[in-house]
């Protein structure tokens, strides 16, 4: 861990063995401060020094939003059939297997039923570490089923996005998921069931261009990358550097694309407050 040596002063002066301290400290990639892991955990994985929101996985999301970390997972048994038998430098089927082993999930999504401040809700949380949180047929179907559950049970739907967009290895199949989910959201809208879209770092491509932007409220965590096209593609197209903070939550708020940017610590209470307004 080279950074241990480069960071001067305040740390590692105790003479403690590095092997022992290593696991207890992390460096904030944003402010470059060294943070005690316990502090980070107590602070919802947000840097106590600079408020940088660290990426967290789908399970951590559910734990943070749902009462007593109690929830019932549904539709977790869906698996991609690799419809295009896609092979590039590697076979998609083997990428899937690796991701499944690494995450313990079948695809980049967890659907859960639980309570938020006592109110039954449906939460669909995307898992970024599963092939970049990309959306193929399984993610599309799972989200659609979550929406249908909302319509059936009248429970508010919360979708937490963390995704690079459509999953290329499922080609146009993944594109069709945008239409499918958006159609289901039209029905949810007509049923007057609340839908809260939570955009986290990063939310781009086909996910932004469908359900992530269609919430009754679109709320984002601070500093999240949110956009349609990726920053590099835009830079190549317009042949200039992008301005500071471009496509970050605060930029989108300023340009009228978000209802609010909410600190992770306040996320649950913000949603609870909105649901009080929206649902009886």
């Amino acid at each position: 861990m080279a950074w241990f040596k480069r960071e001067s002063g305040e740390l590692d002066t105790s003479g403690e063995k590095k092997v022992r301290t290593e696991g207890l400290w992390v460096k904030c990639e944003h402010c470059r401060q060294i943070i005690w892991k316990k502090d980070l955990e107590d602070n919802f994985q947000v840097c106590p020094k600079c408020d940088k929101h660290f990426r967290i996985d789908a399970r951590a999301r559910l734990a943070q939003l749902l009462d007593d970390n109690q929830y019932e997972i549904f539709d977790s048994n869906l698996v991609s059939t690799d419809p295009l038998k896609f092979v590039d430098l590697k076979a998609y089927s083997s990428r899937l297997k690796t991701a499944q082993t690494d995450t313990g999930l079948k695809d980049a999504i967890i659907n859960a039923r639980g309570k938020l401040n006592g109110r039954p809700v449906i939460v669909s949380a995307m898992e970024y570490s599963f092939i970049g949180g990309s959306m193929g047929a399984v993610v599309g179907e799972a989200i659609t089923r979550a929406i249908e559950q909302g319509i059936e049970s009248k429970a508010p739907v919360i979708i937490i996005s963390a995704s690079g967009g459509a999953r290329m290895m499922e080609g146009v199949i993944s594109l069709m998921q945008l239409a499918k989910i958006s159609a289901a959201l039209a029905r949810l809208d007509e049923a007057k069931v609340p839908y809260i879209s939570v955009l986290t770092d990063p939310t781009t491509g086909g996910v932004t261009a469908s359900f992530a932007m269609l919430g009754d409220l679109n709320i984002a965590e601070p500093g999240a990358l949110i956009g349609f096209a990726g920053p590099r593609v835009i830079e190549q197209t317009i042949r200039q550097k992008l301005p500071q903070g471009f496509q970050r939550s605060e930029f989108l708020l300023e340009h009228g694309m978000l209802d609010a940017v909410v600190h992770r610590k306040q996320l649950k209470s913000y949603i609870a407050r909105a649901l009080n307004f929206m649902a009886a």
Binding site: A99, I131, M168, V172, S182, F228, I234, M257
Partner: protein, 345 residues
């Protein structure tokens, strides 16, 4: 973490633009034997036809050569690779929306603007008549000369284009007129202003609203169906693809440069992505294929328009016979059931 790059953060349009320009300079490059012979015969025919005072013998020769041409053209188009189809879909002489408007419709009257920011020339909307019947026409618009191409932004809409399209669709809905959309775009424009003004939101809203518009919608992919920028006007009761059009989540070049880390692997990527009309038909992502004249739509705009017109009329007649509640239910079910490639474990 490398996996984070395996997803589509908007298609890689720059590459496809450069490629399109290249192809336009060089013409479509199909190097099969049939293609070479075809080009040779085309030249012969042109030469023979230019001879003054044709003899009966010359006329007979021309007739024979034309027959051979037809055979070769169908051979060529029947056996095209996915990449060659892509080149045909992007062919600079391929008919664009306004070319079809001129030939398929009458009483065209264009409407402009999104009422919020601007008029986007990359999408055209207008009232028109199909065999006397009032319809709303909406389509991407590409162009052929440099000035016009820039004006049309190479057929890549900004958010205003999608918002104008939705506004036009709502007018059609209000007055009970069917909507016909024509898709031909490399994708939604990946620009700074487009992001600022909510490209993603504009596309997303169209997807949701099209799902519940209370009039029949027929979409035809006429050229390039470039990802979300195509889908944003393609949620139809009938989604048709012209024989040599392509429809994809990302351009073959974009896919190649991400997945193979080599943009020249575009042929491989095109094949792997399954983007041709036949591919989408087999995966049941579309409702039908509109045939093109032999050799492709670019060889004969009149014939291509006639084939398209026939298909539109046939489909519209069928849709109009369906009560609106039923139409909405089957549109919903179609997209609900689409692309269900998963299994339960």
């Amino acid at each position: 973490m490398a996996d984070a790059t395996l997803v589509v953060t908007g298609a890689d349009f720059l590459l496809s633009m450069v490629e399109t320009r290249w192809a336009k300079r060089n013409g479509s490059r199909m190097e099969s034997k049939a293609q070479l012979e075809l080009e040779k015969i085309e030249q012969q025919v042109a030469k023979l036809q230019s001879l003054a005072g044709q003899s009966e013998e010359t006329a007979r020769q021309i007739e024979q050569l034309n027959q051979r041409l037809d055979a070769l053209r169908s051979q060529v188009t029947g056996k095209l690779t996915a990449w060659q189809r892509t080149e045909l879909a992007r062919h600079p002489q391929r008919p664009y929306t306004l070319d079809y408007v001129e030939r398929v419709f009458s009483d065209w009257s264009e409407i402009h603007g999104d009422r919020g920011f601007a008029d986007d020339p990359a999408i055209v909307c207008g009232m028109a008549r199909l065999q006397g019947e009032e319809v709303m026409v909406i389509g991407h618009q590409k162009a052929r000369d440099t000035k016009q191409k820039v004006y049309r932004n190479f057929g890549m809409p900004n958010p205003e284009g999608y918002r104008k399209a939705l506004r036009a669709m709502k007018i059609a809905e209000k007055f009970g007129r069917p909507i016909l959309t024509f898709v031909d775009t490399p994708g939604a424009y990946p620009g700074l202003g487009a992001e600022e003004r909510g490209q993603a939101e504009a596309i997303a809203r169209n997807l949701r609203e099209m799902a519940r518009l209370r009039v029949p919608i027929i979409t035809t992919i006429t050229g390039e169906g470039g990802s979300g920028g195509a889908l944003a006007i393609a949620v139809g009761d009938r989604v048709l693809m012209m024989e040599n059009s392509v429809y994809s989540v990302i351009s073959p070049e974009g896919c190649a440069s991400i997945m193979w880390r080599d943009a020249t692997k575009k042929e491989l990527a095109a094949e792997a992505l399954h983007i041709t009309a036949k591919d989408l038909d087999e995966m049941q992502c579309i409702d039908g294929i509109v045939p093109e004249p032999e050799g492709g739509a670019h060889t004969d705009h009149e014939a291509a328009a006639a084939l398209l017109s026939a298909s539109l009329q046939e489909n519209l007649a069928k849709l109009k016979a369906v009560p609106i509640a039923e139409l909405l239910a089957s549109r919903y079910n179609k997209f609900r059931q689409i692309a269900q490639f998963f299994r339960a474990e």
